[in-house]
Amino acid sequence: MATKQATLGQWLPWRGLVLPLLLVAIWELVVRARIANPVFLPPVSDVVRQGARLVSSGEVWVGLRASLARDLAGLAIGGALGIAAGVALGVSRRADRLFLPTVDALKQISPFALIPLMSFWFGLREPAKIAFIAITCVFPMLVNTYEGVRNVEQKYLEVARIYRYGPARTLALVILPAAAPSILRGLHVGVFFSWLGTVGSEYFFTAGPGAGNIIIDGRNASRMDLVLFGVVVIGLTGYLLNVAVGLVERRVLHWRTQER
């Protein structure tokens, strides 16, 4: 039984590749049968060729590096603000009661609605982009941190009291570790939104280097092969970012699995 499970396990991930391959095959067939207008659906080979050209010229890497730097800067600012505010609201009932309803209402405002305003206030360059990315990811970080801190079990706080921990030690040794799973859940959502914000900022603010340029250039030139390659690059990057957070999560929450 155990060996059967193992071979099954080795075989399982490959099933995930069936659907993408099938889709590509259908795509190729549709193109060959001349059902679709090639302007809307270029042959697979065109997309691959464009991709290879951009990869070998290094254009993709330059863009990705710029985008990721932007993404991380925004995430760092938004994440720090979100965690700090989440801890404050979670720890203090006074702050909770005063600010939470306002936060609740503010987080309903689509960050994209702020773009015209931000372009007015901050211009269209890098600071505006990073501010926008920070805004997109601050609320998920805040909400999840708040929930994690709020739900710290009373008995942990009692232990902190028995040991006569001060605020700083209680926070660092009790509250934050207990809230870590929830904060990391927030990081998953935050990373998703910061990547959305990164691509959005590249799309709606003025162009600088970035991964979003591939799709913007493709759109401007009405070149679907470029656009499709750009979508694949952006999608895979988002997926890998999520995987990376998963690895961080496993590492940080290592003690949890040991405990059980």
Binding site: L98, Q108, I109, S110, P116, F120, W121, R161, T198, R219
Partner: protein, 285 residues
């Protein structure tokens, strides 16, 4: 002395609220300032901000072109509403959200239920779907433009793409994580496949599905604005862009507030729906 009395009284009430057996929290986690406990407390911060904003504008700390006074924002909004222009834009936006979200809800619940019901479907489809789920909706804009042109359909397409993700994922989780005891009981009763689905699986997964729909609606609302920024004939997002280009920041701010308010109301109505479902479901869930 009276301060001390007040503080202990407040602690007493705190203790009552948390259940009489609840231990005292560490001193820095306690609080006692009774005016803040009134029902109006949540309104204090918005009110203070509003006053600060009005004062800042009235005193000319910031130029009117950069931050118009709230009274001016309200006035401009009222003007737009009176002329009927605001409703026209709002109707366009609501129609797009409704259509896109409706399509995403039907498709999403079906796909999520399929993934939840069949482990084989999950193995084949979920990895691809996860990559799709992590692709920012902005990346689809150029594809949408090339397919539909800059039109209302583009917004519906994008809204549908974005709202689909949370609906599918939550329906999937809800259908997959049904307590085994429920299924065993159903087997004991010898329920048919259809009855198993309609009597056990669907009700057990419902709260998760509603949560997914709520998150989907919030995604739809978020995406609406992004789609309309690209420029469509009528819509609240378009109104923002047009007003910005005319340097009418009062209208820009007003519409942003309106959009937030509408999203807030939609979200709260979903929360109420969730509560109703929870009360119907009882403590067993």
């Amino acid at each position: 002395m009276s301060e001390l009395l007040q503080a202990t009284a407040a602690q007493g009430r705190d203790g009552l609220r948390a259940g009489s057996a609840a231990p005292r929290r560490p001193w820095f986690l306690r609080w006692s300032w009774s005016p803040l406990r009134s029902r109006g407390a949540p309104l204090l911060v918005p009110l203070a901000l509003l006053i600060l904003w009005q004062v800042a504008a009235a005193r000319g700390w910031l130029a009117e072109q950069i931050l118009p006074a709230p009274s001016l924002v309200l006035q401009s909004l009222a003007g737009l509403a009176a002329s009927g222009e605001l409703w026209e834009h709002a109707r366009g936006s609501l129609l797009r959200v409704g259509t896109g979200f409706g399509i995403a809800a039907v498709l999403g619940v079906s796909l999520g239920a399929l993934l939840g019901a069949s482990r084989r479907a999950e193995a084949y489809v979920l990895p691809t779907f996860e990559v799709y789920a992590q692709t920012p909706v902005i990346a689809w804009i150029p594809i949408g433009i090339l397919l539909f042109g800059i039109s209302g359909k583009l917004a519906v397409f994008l809204i549908c793409i974005a709202a689909l993700v949370p609906v599918v994922m939550n329906t999937f989780k809800g259908a997959r994580h049904i307590p085994p005891a429920y299924l065993e009981l159903a087997r004991v009763y010898g329920l048919s496949r259809w009855r198993l689905f309609s009597r056990v699986v669907a009700p057990a997964a419902l709260p998760s599905i509603v949560l997914g729909l709520r998150m989907g609606l919030s995604q739809a609302w978020l995406t609406l604005v992004a789609a309309e920024l690209v420029g469509i004939e009528r819509g609240l997002g378009v109104l923002i862009v047009e007003s910005r280009n005319l340097f009418q920041l009062d209208i820009v701010l007003g519409v942003i507030v309106l959009l937030g308010l509408a999203g807030f109301i939609l979200d709260k109505s979903f929360v109420m729906l969730e509560r109703r479902l929870a009360s119907w479901r009882g403590p067993a869930g």
